[in-house]
Symmetry: C2
Subunit: 328 residues, 2 copies
DNA sequence: TTGTAAGCGTTATCAT
DNA sequence: ATGATAACGCTTACAA
């Protein structure tokens, strides 16, 4: 019994007599033989694994994306390496290290700069981006943040007649936030209004709290706060409460992401639901296309859903009304 | 310049002249040389990676554990493979496959049966368990669910004078729940009472809802519902509301895990906080000890914290009072 | 201190 | 249909 025959049987190649196949299978069973993934990878020049680089795992957003991605990966019998960058200094090196252990990489927003992504592309590593714009020929999967921002802002502007809306969040910190801000400003423009400068802040609840406090203390108090994500919106609601302002009677507040907490918030947060799972799954499909040699891997953008609850000023008949944002 | 010298330089071994070291380093830089992790692993007989097997990623619990684990892993310059079992049929095979790609494995509760864990142990693979009892010589990291259950139940029994408490959850579905049920029953016994049979249900909000509906429709209505986790407790609160019962005036409700939502719940959920992050980090340290050849890797159990809010019947002075459950 | 060469456990290319 | 044997790109004695 030669080693080559075993290799053939074990990979299910044809060119083996059923008799010997059985023989080999038996031996494999008896000896509890497991091929070495290391040796196999070295010889066949691929890892049988892909990686995903995400910024953090607090909050359900990234967990869901990973879940969607993982489903596709497991369905293909591949393995999945993960790396959280957590705003670490050495993130780029960690990614560069990770890339040596996989056949392809999904890189999410807020992890490593475009330079690094570009470097990966130059090395010929299949890469897909998520939640950030394409870099060169590297495709990206995104949700339609711009469109949903326009939709949401117009709802506030025209549905509720707001005239002093303020955007809370820092467009320079994340491509998503940038898109949302752009949609916010664009909706204003279309309505013949000018959007005031965004109140810059980071992504966490406390950041939104502080920013809202600042915004609401301005002489001309805003009538509505459009926050870059739900965490920030929750902080904003807290700030309003602290100032003795009611939501939405005195000030409207909206978020992004529809985290589970959103529907339990006293103010019943109006927000935008992302197709998180589908985002991850789509990215996986794209990445495997790329790995498979397909060169026609195109960037995709997925539709979002406006979740209208009460914090925008709507009366809350049913739990929530959803409006899908149509593709543009 | 020989290949061996490069290998030495690259791994920072001593026995290399500073001069040649510089030379090699330069070449590495210029040629953008990256050692093949596959070849390196094959030769040195280790993967430089460990794996973590978890049931699911919905809810913050597992995400936090993974985060704690990941921190330790990255600090050691190792990689991390993940596998969610999601109650899939082929989970065991997936784990058996994963184990061939790592130097060690962290296996969480509710993923694969003890048989599979035992099989891994027989193969000599370093394994650490989390949230489930040790299997043979395979160590486990756990939170003190039993102790916290006793603590919580006694709070309800003696602090609030409850006499008809019901436990919601299925002890047979998860070792954690089993421990909690055991503590619940034990606290009753110590008080000279007998705990009624648990109302069996699965882990999600809807499951808790249904179970609570059943429990609260009994002729002798329970005065308190001790739920196996926060999701179930949220469902239970919903069920109470649906029956026109107020929490905690008509029925007390408690949970486990202290998910972010818990403090925003209208009923201000009293619950038990797990040291999730620390659980993951501890498991990682244990696993690396094991991989390092240490045979004195002992199981550990970490203290939990009772988070008293309002749903147990306590008046809500400050946001929440915490009581650490002392080691036993 | 540096170089040589024998593995590591597969796959892949030839012969047979 | 099967068996030898040369890669694959490192680590690791051992030699120089």
């Amino acid at each position: 019994m030669s080693i080559a025959t075993v290799s053939r049987v074990q990979r299910g190649l044809h060119g083996v007599t059923p008799a010997t196949r059985e023989l080999v299978l038996d031996a494999i069973e008896n000896l509890r033989y497991r091929p070495s993934s290391l040796a196999r990878g070295l010889a066949s020049r691929h890892h049988g694994a892909t990686g995903i680089v995400f910024p953090d795992l607090s909050g359900p957003y990234y967990a869901d994306v990973i879940l969607g991605y993982e489903g596709e990966v497991v369905a293909r019998g591949e393995s999945l390496l993960i790396l959280g960058t957590h705003e670490r200094e050495e993130s780029s090196e960690l990614v560069l290290d990770l890339v040596g252990r996989v056949d392809g990489l999904l890189v999410m927003a807020r992890t490593v700069p475009d330079d690094v992504v570009r470097a990966l592309g130059r090395d010929g590593v299949p890469v897909v981006l998520l939640g950030r714009p394409p870099v060169g020929r590297i495709p990206a999967v995104r949700e339609r943040s711009f469109e949903s921002a326009v939709h949401l802002t117009e709802h506030l502007l025209h549905g509720h007649g707001h005239r002093r809306l303020v955007f809370i969040g820092d467009p320079s910190l994340s491509p998503d936030v940038a898109e949302r801000w752009r949609g916010f400003a664009d909706a204003h423009r279309r309505a013949g209004l000018e959007a005031p400068a965004p109140v810059l802040c980071r992504f966490r609840e406390a950041d939104g709290h502080d920013a809202a406090l600042r915004a609401l203390s301005e002489p001309a108090r805003p009538s509505g706060l459009v926050c870059g994500n739900d965490e920030m919106a929750i902080g904003a609601c807290g700030a309003a409460e602290r100032l003795g302002l009611r939501v939405p009677a005195d000030v409207a507040v909206t978020g992004w992401d529809d985290i589970p907490l959103a529907r339990f918030l006293p103010s019943h947060l109006t927000t935008v639901r992302q197709p998180t799972r589908e985002l991850g799954a789509t990215a996986a499909r794209l990445l495997f296309d790329l790995i498979g040699g397909s060169s026609l891997a195109e960037s995709e953008s997925l539709p979002t859903e406006l979740v209208v609850r009460a914090s925008c000023g709507c009366t809350r008949n049913d739990d929530s009304r959803h409006q899908e944002v149509a593709p543009t």
